[in-house]
Amino acid sequence: MSLRVRLSLILGSAFVIIWALAAAWMLRDLRQQMMFSLDQRLVASARMVAGLIDQLPQPLTAKGQEAHFSADQLSVPDGMACQVSSLRGEILASNHKHDGSMDDQRSGFQDQTIDGASWRTFTYTRGDVRITTADRHMEREALNRSILLAASAPVLMALLGSLGLLWVGLGKGLEPLKRMCDALRRRRADSVEPMQVAGMPSELQPLLETQNQLFLRIAQTLERERRLTDDAAHELRSPLTAIKTHLQVARMTDGNVREQALEHAEQGADRLHRTLEQLLMLARVEGSLSFDDGVRCSAEQVALQAIQDAGGGDNRRIALRLPTEAAKVYLGMPAPLAVAALRNLLDNALRHTAGDDPVELEVHMTQGQVGFLVRDHGPGIPEEDLQHLTERFWRSRQSGGCGLGLAIVQAIVQRCAGNLRFESSSDGLRVWLQVPSRASVQQP
């Protein structure tokens, strides 16, 4: 059910009920006033007849004759009956022709039935006559009804008018909602453009703004995902292209060229292998796979293992500075992750340090934390690039990597509540990797 119909029904019902109650109250009052006025008319007529009788030259006598007075002579209003009788009960005069006579024994108002019709009577005693005036109830009701009808017609019109206005007004009032609804309906399902709806009321404005911010965030997320997929495609296709191309060259040629092509194809395969391994590692670290093999690993073991793995075996350039207590401090994270993170940092440092310049690895122990400092003597990284370092597939121009190494380190750090910090200067890049340590266990 639309908001408009719903509001119209609720408000309309309330309107109808209130108007009906008000009308009922008004009509009841009107009826009472009406009846009171008619009664007053009976009284006034009776008094007037009494006045007329007083002025008669001779008193009224009953001689079994027809009534002396006609209704016209008594000058009572149309439809009203009048009867004048002596105190003994003889009817002296009547303007009403009927078989039964009105009971006038009691003074005041009475309701009585005469000849099957119900009457409202008023009896007034004055001197030696009783004057009774009467109205038919039917006539009183008819009069009452016509007045009620006349009064209720405007009420009904007003009610209908206000219901109509209510419907139109609600439509107008809900116009902004309808516009927003139309704008939403016109959108393509995959559209993430911000919505433009003019003339929004202040209550809907925040909704529209929130909606548009949401659209913006979705668009950014989609764009990031698209770029990531795109980058992944690029990183996977490039070595594949190299392999395929060189294999084709090998098929077309022979001798030296062929040997070289095959060698190149192999290099391409190695590169593809590395990229795939890194991608898988990243997926595992970011996923919920468990790396915990239950083996406790000291900071020293991690450092030595990482050095051994780094640089594809070319690890003579790595200078390790290890405090003696490093053998007794255990890391509060799975060993494979710690080794992978440190190895990636060392790989990067080796890649960016020219020639035989050393790469330094220092291990620091603080309360509850183990810090690894990897320092290279390369050209460093421009300040504006520091923020991109841990983005997936981002790589500096000189780098030969696939752009995943630091993204993996970042993912590991996030997973294990560690910390990763870069400091770049003209004489190289310092990378701080801090990971939580387990409460140190004293070896016997």
């Binding site: 698209r226 795109d230 495609a233 690029h234 996977l236 296709r237 490039s238 070595p239 594949l240 292209t241 190299a242 392999i243 395929k244 191309t245 060189h246 084709q248 060259v249 077309m252 040629t253 060229v257 070289q260 092509a261 190149h264 290099q267 391409g268 590169r271 121009r397």
Partner: protein, 227 residues
């Protein structure tokens, strides 16, 4: 055909270069947009193979700027990015064709031949010139139905002439078509190739325009040359 290959990935570039050379094309390799620009000013190329992810400048930007400068060289874009917007952007930036990595070397060569053919205003691949027929994609030449054996340099020379019928080509232009930028060229090497071509396809196939250069002349059937 002289190809300018603009690709920063060393492994891929060496593969393409070796593959195209094996198919009879002359390839010059650059790894950056600036190098590409420099080489384009220094030498004549028939077609350019452009990778979009260059280290110093986006390939599309390079292409756009080249087109703004009035460079009409046919350009084939190579990229590993396959979003439709990438392709549309590439074509709108002025590329003539688009190939997605990984690709087949034969397809790349065929597409380059097609680009060149279209640039020369031909609709079929085989060039017919009098009794001479030459197929640039298979590098097969025949004269009056008889196959003629041509060396790689001779093929390149013949193709350059056939692609520019009626135009006078300077010896520098011809050298650019025949040799790569880094090839060692002896001073009279071009004359040697022209001499061989005349011997195989008739004396008048290469006309010398004194002081200017060379021009494609009529091919003669072998029996006429024999008589």
């Amino acid at each position: 055909m002289h190809v300018l290959l603009c690709e920063d990935d060393d492994l891929i570039a060496s593969g393409i270069s070796a593959g195209l050379t094996a198919q009879g094309l002359t390839v010059d390799r650059v790894a950056s947009a600036s190098a590409a620009r420099a080489l384009l000013q220094a030498a004549q190329f028939d077609v350019m193979v452009l990778d979009l992810g260059l280290p110093d400048e986006d390939g599309l930007k390079l292409l756009r700027r080249l087109r703004q400068q009035g460079e009409t060289l046919p350009v084939l874009i190579l990229t590993a990015r396959d979003a439709i917007t990438d392709r549309v952007d590439g074509l709108q930036a002025g590329a003539d064709d688009y190939l997605l990595k990984p690709f087949d070397l034969r397809e790349l060569a065929a597409r380059l031949h097609t680009l060149l053919r279209r640039a020369a205003g031909r609709v079929v691949n085989v060039i017919e010139h009098g009794p001479l027929r030459y197929d640039p994609s298979s590098c097969e030449a025949s004269l009056g139905g008889q196959p003629v054996d041509l060396s790689r340099r001779e093929q390149a020379l013949l193709q350059a002439l056939l692609n520019n019928p009626g135009r006078v080509l300077t010896s520098e232009q011809l050298k650019d078509c025949v040799y790569g930028f880094n090839d060692e060229v002896e001073s009279n090497a071009l004359n040697v190739h022209i001499h061989h071509l005349r011997r195989k396809l008739g004396n008048s196939i290469v006309e010398t325009v004194r002081g200017l250069g060379y021009r494609l002349g009529p091919a003669q059937a072998p029996q006429e040359t024999a008589s």
